[in-house]
């Protein structure tokens, strides 16, 4: 079977890890993080206006999904699980009128919110996963444009 492959330069690097305390802090702050990311994503009107009345529900649903995936990947220390989801999203989300660029921006907003809402030491651990997602999403966006 011939399928288009998008290689990653940084998949082979050491897996980031999150301490139990950092994961617990992330879970405690989960609702606040989601609320903040949704609000800031909605503030970028040019990226959501086409969703009309559905914008808040769609963005909230996407951020909730991202949070569950991030939590699962951190809990087992596997960025490959996130990689799979990012690639899946590249195929699926454009059909929901969510562009890969918008996904990238929301990951960046997510990392900001984590930095602001978690204690510094814990935020740094969580954001190693998010930074990985941001870099990989940038690679996928660039590959998709070629």
């Amino acid at each position: 079977m011939s399928r288009k492959s998008v290689p990653s330069d940084h998949l082979q690097t050491a897996q980031p890890s999150v301490s139990p305390d950092a994961l617990s802090a992330f879970r405690d702050a989960r609702e606040a993080i989601i609320r903040e990311v949704v609000a800031r994503s909605l503030a970028r009107e040019e990226e959501v206006v086409h969703h009309g009345d559905e914008a808040e529900r769609l963005i909230a649903s996407g951020i909730e999904f991202t949070t569950r995936m991030l939590d699962a990947a951190m809990a087992v220390g596997e960025v490959s699980l996130l990689e799979d989801q990012l690639v899946w999203a590249m195929d699926r989300l454009p059909h929901e009128q969510v562009s890969p660029d918008h996904v990238l921006h929301r990951f960046q907003i997510y990392a900001e919110a984590v930095r602001e809402l978690l204690p510094g030491e814990y935020a740094a651990q969580v954001n190693r996963f998010l930074e990985w997602m941001i870099v990989r999403q940038q690679e996928l966006v660039q590959a998709d444009e070629v």
Binding site: A75, V76, E78, L81, R92, H95
Partner: protein, 239 residues
Amino acid sequence: MQAAQVGDGKNEGIELARTTFIDEDRPLAELAGRYLKVLLGAERHLASRLVMEAVESGVSVKDIYLHVFQPCQREIGRLWQTNQVSVAQEHYCTAATQLIMSQLYPYVFNTEKIGRCLVAACVGGELHEIGMRMVADFFEMEGWDTYYLGANTPSKSILQAIEEREAHVLGVSATITFNVGAVADLIADLRTSEVGKDVRVLVGGRPFLIAPNLWQTVGADGYAADAQQAIYVADQILM
């Protein structure tokens, strides 16, 4: 006991879903293509007839599962992912395949029993059940007693079933990544329970395919990529 895994154990890279899972170089590819076409045309009676005629002409039920149902289910998922079919079509095709699997049960439930029992389930929150059902049917065809619990099963009910059936192996599946935690929790509960001490755990589903060592991380005894491999791994982990 030695933990077991079948497959090459490598992450072969992530690929975008651009091409079909109905690979013409694979066995029964023509049948799989025709089967998919009639299902997408909402003609499940024709899909059923195709499968039953193939089995009556000598194609094994296992080959139907591995080379028709499995690639067609994956292809239907890919078609939804790339917006070529609707959710309704995806659900119709899956329901039709489950119906046709039931029609094959006279062939599935006719083997001599070997004195082993499998409890098979999808963890709480997991709705993708057809893969686990195929695994249970393969074990049944190998002479195991199987107790298949289906989708979205609470951990407490799974542990209860293991105790009541005196299971040798628990087969547990997660398709959606965020259900991996539920698999780990279930196995942890099993390991600390009286009933779970002698039970071996076999896991499957996409997250375990993507992350080759994840089965160990969640505390399982083995992982298999499909129903045929699951039989082999179960034998290995019971040695």
